[in-house]
């Protein structure tokens, strides 16, 4: 079943200086339970696209359909991990989760909610920092709290904007595994949109990789990742199909950079 459909989606930021088109005539469909990765150079509109999915921004023209219906705002069916760690600074790590959970799980008792919060904080390895305020946590730790909150709320669609960007390599590996495990345990009913600029991460996680082009605001290429799951990182990275795919993706990136260079020379 198709979960998300983008139809001729165009988006422009408007301010006093005029309009600035970031996304142009994008068409894309994402199946229910699919895991897609979006990669592309900085400034190509990945975060903007996430905000559109989230219902924080609306298309300038064209449409985004969720389960066949146009998005009219934010909803419990979607959870976001923003690129810039976005916790409430006046709440402890645990309170941040509890507060989020309270908004979805109306019927649950305080105790149950706290239990869920603790479980997820343990999953991201922060059991010893439950009562710390965000200002007392490092950037990577704050991001892990935000990830724990999004995962704990169990949305249908998980929107993640470079969620592991600030996390160190060791925790990053653990979080990648955790994310895949939770997604696979959930019988892959959760649809995941995962923005990253790490090509290896995209290949490891995604069913399909969407490569965006710089400047033009369009999708450059959609590439299906052929590897079976569960994927073992250490094995996978040594195979030649992996290297081939990786080279292709790097090429797509490099291509972009080359074009930019030529532009510079021409002008």
């Amino acid at each position: 079943m198709t979960k998300i459909i983008l139809r001729n989606l165009t988006f422009s930021y408007k301010d006093q200086n005029g309009e600035y088109t970031v996304l142009k005539e994008i068409n894309l469909s994402v199946a229910e339970g699919e895991f897609i990765s979006i990669i592309g150079p900085s400034g190509c509109g990945k975060s903007t696209l996430i905000s559109l999915f989230a219902g924080l921004l609306f298309p300038s023209s064209g449409s985004i359909l969720l389960d066949g219906r146009e998005i009219i705002g934010t909803g419990h069916d979607r959870g976001v991990v923003f690129q810039h760690y976005s916790l409430f600074p006046w709440m402890s790590a645990r309170k941040n989760l509890v507060f989020g959970l309270k908004q979805v799980k109306k019927g649950s008792s305080r105790k149950e909610i706290e239990q869920i919060a603790d479980t997820y904080l343990e999953l991201v390895g922060l059991e010893n920092f439950k009562d710390h305020y965000p200002s007392q946590l490092s950037g990577g730790m704050q991001q892990r709290v935000a990830i724990a909150r999004a995962l704990a709320m169990g949305p249908d669609i998980l929107l993640m904007d470079e969620p592991f960007g600030a996390v160190d390599t060791k925790n990053r590996l653990a979080l990648q595994e955790l994310l895949l495990k939770l997604w696979e345990d959930g019988k892959k009913t959760t649809t995941v949109v995962f923005v990253t600029h790490d090509i290896d991460e995209a290949i490891l996680l995604a069913d399909r990789i969407i490569v965006m082009s710089s400047g033009s605001g369009t999708i450059k290429k959609e590439i299906t990742v052929p590897f079976t799951r569960p994927r073992d990182k250490s094995q996978l990275f040594r195979t030649s199909p992996y290297a081939e795919l990786r080279n292709r993706l790097v090429g797509l990136f490099y291509d972009d950079l080359l074009e930019e260079r030529e532009d510079e020379i021409v002008f």
Binding site: A54, L56, G75, S86, P89
Partner: protein
């Protein structure tokens, strides 16, 4: 160690020595002056031995040095040398003596003053904060109210005093009203700004969590605007104090503002000075508790 309390000790000795010399006019107050100097010095020394924080010890003893230097000079020009007009510039020892004897009277007056202050100020907080939260959160209301605050906010609330006394039945009601107005605007305007300046990503996060109206206002907007609200509340408190004193000077029959005004009408300047010093104490105590409350409420910031 010597460096730390050197200046304080120097002025301590000067102060005690000049206190022991027979002054021309104020032998009665000498003991009080020496007593105060001893208390200050003892505080310094205990600090030196018990407080591990070097910077704090240093600051404390430097403050003590300044205070004692001031007292010494004051004493020198009044009680010792009598260079200054005795009538207008009483010696510090005499002031201290008077302060201790007048203390109970002033405390009783203070009780009345605090009632007015707390009444007006708390009323202002209770009305200004929720109102500004709602108005700030509702973009359209905000745009309507913002220009109004620009006109009404800067009017010095002192100008309302005569009118308030005229239209309200009792002095108490009119001073509470004036204090209310004085505290209202700074709290209101700062709360509005606080709401307006909450980071967009925080609002976005709350929207993603689908936070309902009430928790949005009181668990997201309120704490988000809190630093700014507290700034407003501090300014409001200062205003309240000024207005309280002004109102009491104009129309009261008790209270600390009345005390100063009453005795200056009789040209009893020692009591006027005693009243002013007492007010300084009161403000210090209130500010201390206010700061404690602030650092508790904003403990999540670093």
């Amino acid at each position: 160690m010597k460096k730390m309390i050197g200046p304080a000790s120097l002025f301590f000795l000067l102060l005690v020595l000049s206190g022991l010399l027979p002054g021309r006019s104020a032998p009665a107050g000498n003991n009080y002056l020496i007593g105060l100097a001893v208390i200050i010095q003892v505080i310094c020394l205990t600090n030196l031995f018990w407080n591990k924080n070097k910077a704090k010890v240093q600051a404390c003893s430097d403050v003590a040095a300044l205070v004692m230097a001031f007292l010494w000079l004051w004493d020198l020009f009044t009680g010792r040398l009598e260079i200054l007009n005795k009538f207008l510039y009483p010696a510090p020892g005499n002031i201290l003596k008077l302060f201790t004897s007048e203390f109970p009277v002033m405390l009783k007056g203070l009780f009345n003053s605090i009632q007015l202050l707390a009444g007006g100020y708390i009323l202002a907080l209770l009305i200004a904060i929720p109102l500004a939260l709602i108005i700030g959160w509702r973009g359209r209301l905000y745009l309507a109210v913002k220009p109004l605050t620009k006109v009404l906010g800067p009017i010095p609330p002192i100008v309302y005093i005569p009118y308030a006394i005229a239209i309200l039945p009792t002095f108490k009601a009119s001073s509470v009203f004036v204090i209310f107005i004085g505290a209202f605007w700074p709290v209101f305007i700062n709360t509005l700004n606080g709401v307006f300046n909450i980071e967009k990503k925080i609002i976005d996060t709350a929207r993603m969590l689908n936070v309902k109206e009430m928790p949005m206002l009181f668990q997201v907007i309120l704490p988000g605007a809190l630093p700014s609200i507290i700034t407003g509340a501090t300014i409001g408190l200062v205003f309240s104090f000024i207005l309280l004193t002004a109102a009491e000077m104009i129309g009261a029959t008790s209270g600390i503002g009345w005390y100063v005004k009453y005795f200056s009408d009789f040209a009893d300047y020692p009591r006027v000075i005693v009243g002013i010093i007492f007010m300084g104490f009161v403000v210090t105590v209130i500010t201390y508790f206010f700061d404690r409350a602030e650092s508790y409420l904003l403990r999540w910031r670093r």
